[in-house]
């Protein structure tokens, strides 16, 4: 097992999660490759995300709009903004070559907003592209374990 790569991707993903929990959205947007996609599917068995209905299928433009919406104060469902804390663990490298690392991990996120504490668990698969001594995100695929149940509004970035 290549512990060095495992440590590298873990550090990168922890940093990403910490940015999202602390509202560092400009820095978060910069973690992505221009054509990267942020995907939250509905059907747990779905693989053709582009041609099916998802909760989110964001390119760079939509990610930017999403950040604007969350921070603009124009949306009553995100004012007040939810507070989130996420834990990421069980990192496992699924594939790697000189350019890319595909890594799967578990995310448990707690959200608090307006008297209500909610919990979302997800299985996340990152495709990371090497960029100097760090990475950029080419794809982040978030499979909520309850994706095919009825969900409440998610006013933050998973």
């Amino acid at each position: 097992m290549n512990l060095h790569t495992l440590q590298e991707v873990t550090a990168f993903i922890w940093q990403e999660g910490d940015m999202l929990d602390h509202g560092e959205f400009a820095a978060w947007l910069n973690l992505w490759v221009e054509k990267g996609t942020y995907i939250i599917p509905i059907d747990p068995r779905e693989e053709d995300f582009e041609n099916s209905l998802n909760y989110a299928y964001d390119d760079h433009h939509m990610r930017t709009l999403r950040v604007q919406r969350l921070t603009s104060g124009e949306s009553i469902s995100t004012s007040p903004q939810p507070r989130t804390v996420r834990s990421l663990s069980t990192f496992r490298i699924l594939a790697q070559d000189a350019e890319r690392v595909t890594v799967r991990c578990a995310q448990n996120l707690r959200e608090f907003r307006k008297d209500s504490l909610k919990h979302y668990s997800a299985d996340i698969v990152y495709t990371l592209v090497r960029d100097g001594d760090s990475f950029r995100i080419e794809r982040k695929l978030i499979r909520l374990i309850n994706s095919d149940d009825t969900l409440a509004g998610i006013g933050y970035i998973l």
Partner: protein, 424 residues
């Protein structure tokens, strides 16, 4: 004060709770009224259960609810649609727990009783013990009356109510217009967003013909669209209208220009669709069909609200399901062109994701507003919900009553039907 009544009379007749310009707060909060609504509305009229494309083949099925009763919508070998109560006739277990799928039969997991796609009881394991006291023909899954209009499947517990087409009445021509967004291809429902909000189902019913809230609640959505789209959605002071179509149905025309998607196909392609049009041309689609697709791809310029549980809402079907007096489940079913170009269908999928769903730029804000209504309605139990907007300008139309686009005419239509059914 004219907006107060003296005391809350929980035994008040439903007719006293709906006035021409307002409804009583107890319509959102009284559990006894909710139970009565299930009986007198959801179990007494035509309720939407599926779009035909959700069960495309022999053996296709989906499970859903009518009111609080679980049902299966299944297509049999002869392609006939059946709506069956999801309850084994032996000891009551559900015979299907999947949301959708394909099967030859429904088998109860408890003792193995198996039913055909039309609900008939086919087999009972170890029948010897019953001797001659079990007549299988007497114990099919209970089958409801089902009728279809333009691919929209409705079911009812009542054998004696009017045919579906009579119930829909003038709404039928709006359904026909809505289906034109297929651009010549059949309409297909390939998926849906499902969510719940802590509020009464009628709060959502009202919202489908509420243009008044749009610029305020959906400010963040409007900030995220291009100039052309923004202009299109600036309809509150525009020439649109709301029309009461009878039987609780109503239509809110927000963008009159997009009522008939087959009209004006010679017009230049709007700037925001130029990229899509170019891709379609590259695929070898002829210019007329490109224009037809591009004109239809963003959906219709109106919301058709069908009492009590479904709406043809611009580019999707909105389905509501009452859970309790203070909880409602909503499905927003996406629509694509069956067999149409994947590029155009992707556009529709992304459009749906942009506004709808728990991470959409529109739905969560609606949901928040509805939740606030329910919360606020627990204060001032003797107050009324005001629905008098657009009354002075309301006038008779060919199909009912019509007023300006942000009038509460559609809500008044729904509550008059509520009053009629609850008083029956």
């Amino acid at each position: 004060m004219s907006n107060l009544i003296d005391v809350v009379n929980l035994d008040a007749s439903p007719a006293d709770l709906v006035l021409p310009d307002r409804v009583h707060t107890s319509l959102y909060t009284d559990p006894k009224l909710f139970d009565a609504e299930l009986e007198k509305i959801f179990y007494s009229t035509w309720v939407w259960v599926a779009h035909a494309s959700e069960i495309p083949e022999a053996g296709s099925y989906k499970s859903t609810f009518i009111g609080k009763q679980p049902v299966i919508v299944a297509r049999d070998r002869k392609k006939q649609v059946h709506v069956l109560l999801n309850r084994c006739r032996h000891r009551g277990a559900t015979v299907c727990e999947h949301k959708k799928g394909k099967t030859n039969s429904f088998v109860c997991p408890y003792h193995g009783w198996s039913y055909a796609l039309d609900g008939s009881l086919r087999g009972v394991p170890h029948p010897e013990s019953y001797g001659d006291c079990l007549d299988k023909s007497e114990l099919p899954l209970v089958s409801l009356r089902v009728e279809e209009y333009a691919g929209m499947l409705f079911a009812t517990f009542k054998d004696d109510i009017e045919p579906l087409t009579d119930f829909l009445g003038p709404a039928k021509k709006w359904i026909d217009l809505f289906m034109k967004q297929g651009a010549g291809y059949p309409i297909k429902v390939p998926g849906e967003h499902r969510f719940r909000f802590p509020g009464n189902w009628k709060i959502q019913l009202e919202n489908t013909t509420d243009a008044y809230h749009f610029p305020l609640v959906h400010k963040s959505f409007l900030s995220s669209v291009d100039e052309e789209t923004l202009k299109l959605f600036d309809f509150v002071e525009g020439p649109g209208y709301v029309e009461d179509l009878g039987n609780g149905h109503s239509v809110m025309v927000m963008i009159p220009d997009l009522v008939d998607l087959e009209a004006d196909l010679d017009r230049p392609v709007p700037e925001r669709f130029e990229g899509l049009a170019a891709e379609l041309r590259d695929e070898g689609i002829d210019e007329q069909q490109v224009r037809r697709i591009v004109r239809a791809v963003g959906g219709s310029g109106f919301n058709l609200n069908l009492f009590p549980n479904v709406a043809c809402s611009m580019a999707f079907f909105r389905v509501l399901q009452p859970i309790s007096v203070t909880e409602t489940e909503i499905h927003h079913s996406v629509i694509t062109m069956d067999g149409g170009p994947a590029t155009a269908n992707r556009y529709r999928l992304r459009l749906h994701e942009h506004f709808q769903g728990p991470m959409g730029f529109g739905t969560p804000d609606d949901s928040e507003a509805w939740e606030r209504v329910q919360k606020g309605a627990s204060a001032g139990e003797d107050l009324w919900i005001m629905l008098n907007r657009g009354l002075p300008g309301e006038k008779p139309s060919e199909d009912g009553l019509v007023s300006d686009v942000s009038a509460e005419t559609g809500m008044r239509a729904a509550y008059q039907q509520w009053k009629k059914m609850m008083s029956a």
